[in-house]
Symmetry: C2
Subunit: 389 residues, 2 copies
Amino acid sequence: MVWLRNHPRFDRHVRPPVHPRLSRLRPALRARVAGLSVSGGRVGKRPVTLKDVAARAGVGAITVSRALREPAAVSAALRARIEQAVAELGYVANHAASSMAAGHSRIVPVVVPTLAHPVYVPFLDGVNAVLDEQGYQVLLGTTEYRQDREARLVEGLLGWAPAGLLLAGVDHTPALRVRLQALARTRPLVEFMDLDGEPIDLMVGFSHRAVGRAVADWFADRGFRHIAIVSTGAEHDLRAARRAQAFAEALAARGLRDDYILDGQGPSSIAGGGRLLAELLQRHPQVQAVFLANDDLAAGALFEAQRRGLRVPQDLALMGFNDAPIAAAVVPALSSVAVDRRGMGHTVATLLLERLAGATPQARVIDTGFSIVARASTDAPPRPTGDLT
Amino acid sequence: MVWLRNHPRFDRHVRPPVHPRLSRLRPALRARVAGLSVSGGRVGKRPVTLKDVAARAGVGAITVSRALREPAAVSAALRARIEQAVAELGYVANHAASSMAAGHSRIVPVVVPTLAHPVYVPFLDGVNAVLDEQGYQVLLGTTEYRQDREARLVEGLLGWAPAGLLLAGVDHTPALRVRLQALARTRPLVEFMDLDGEPIDLMVGFSHRAVGRAVADWFADRGFRHIAIVSTGAEHDLRAARRAQAFAEALAARGLRDDYILDGQGPSSIAGGGRLLAELLQRHPQVQAVFLANDDLAAGALFEAQRRGLRVPQDLALMGFNDAPIAAAVVPALSSVAVDRRGMGHTVATLLLERLAGATPQARVIDTGFSIVARASTDAPPRPTGDLT
DNA sequence: ATGAAAGCGCTAACAA
DNA sequence: TTGTTAGCGCTTTCAT
């Protein structure tokens, strides 16, 4: 067959011919007879089903089902026999079958904008830790900050008849919002990371507007008058945009200039922070303090300031956001806004589980708050600017 | 009913009484009749099924199924009518039903040790980007570096009849290994991040032993003789342990001291890097160069060195691992070993898809390699140590 | 190219 | 406490 070496068939998986006697069987069945296990079951044997366990234990299938799902509902004697049969046969439940029969699954999709931005990872980790513990599976989805992608993604995710749904943020397409409202009548839905919107069902997070306001006030209270806010990709990251807007409003309310706002393109990187600070200082050399949208940007700004011979905090105060490890690590250490993302994940997952257990939660909206961690990078009075405004 | 306020029932979700006429229906059916959609379908109407679409389009259910899965197999005319019906009815496929009927799902579990360690996140992101594109769903699992957890986790995951399986590393319990070998006969399985083991099916990554060797040789070639390696949690992180082992072997092969090995407890943090360097220098002040298990540790070591008045690289050379952004950002910039994690994720997912498409991959093992990125933190000859060995 | 029939493995309802 | 019955929505096979 050497002459066939370049034949396309050689690039494809060659399936062994099916025995004619078996050909009219469905694939899963056929695999059973042929001794191949597609999922679960003892190796080299046909997949073990609930029925097999039931037969082995000498009980009805439904009793096995119950013993596995609500052990308390089955007598201890039977339970023991069933557990033994499960172990002996290496039974693994078929989740698809149980989802179909029950009308819902133990899948919980978690939809976040991106994994590239490190804030969602601890959150995801926190959610996963709690849900995994309770036998739920996290299905991952990323929107890349696109509402249309979110809508499509969620649409597909609903096909799993999920136990609940966890969505980052409050900004959804109108069509999705309607869909979610209907969903929330039968399944818990938690919007997280953001409190600046009308909850569809449950909501856990903090107000990005409150953060913007708090940081603006914090600097203003300390006598700063030229206070800037810097971010990247705020046209997509609506939470960053809300921080910036509330920031500007708070400054305006105090009669301070509110137009030191810079939003750049590209990812939020240390290098980007340097570039943005350079751009900001070129336009507005009088700026005394900068609130950056995350700690990478802030660290980059710090390094750029040092390259320019600007002293931080004496010549320029910097504050980051997220309180990532890098904030405490650089010299001078960066002030930052701390949010417990992993804890938020825990809270979200716990709330979901409570709801699934049938409890009516205390509150539909949980504010997990934030705090301003003041470090060396803001530990000096504002530099005199010469103007008298 | 005020007197019932503290009754347990008030803490539970009160389900509306089921209409007796409906009570003998199954829950999913009942929801349909009651006008509630559990998954998919138009809001406020009963869930739309394939049958509904078929009826609307005036074709058989199977034709709709085909039109959705292999459009080419259906005539253009019918396809158009079907697509219109799908859109009009807002049909969302029930994945559980299709998984059950087909015997396998479009779920791909990705099992990683942890999300707390940032290296797995870009990988996961890369996998997700490719699989999402093709309509596959990533199911997330974390082992916390525990083989027993991995075995249990995978066991449960198999209940989804996944399209394939992606596992970090080559270190599995013997029982799981047997199970996976059986699985691999029907589903593609990719072990990733590590090449130091016998592949069960497919394998993508790089050799951590090769990394350890390469870094040891790199320092030795440049005249360093007291070369240390520092990590945390190597008893769990077997990849870090392999790097250390090969590192020591390479030094020994050159007649250099191979016992400057320090492994600490706790998470790999910047602060931890400082503590570990302090400990290392206390024990072995003669050390000239240190290879740290990641860039956070390396940055922490750098800051600790600076606190002690040690010049990097003149007094102490430092090299990190992963080439994270922080490595390039600190001053002096840290040398590091670069690995394209996101690209690895792409490669893994692509390989999986090829296999699912029936192709026989070129190779069962793909080495994605690594490179040593030399920066300022190693840019000086070794400090004289006075000894003559 | 399209359809009819069968059944994937499990669980809800009801009965015993 | 346990079993019987029916059926979840889809895809496979085989026939047309």
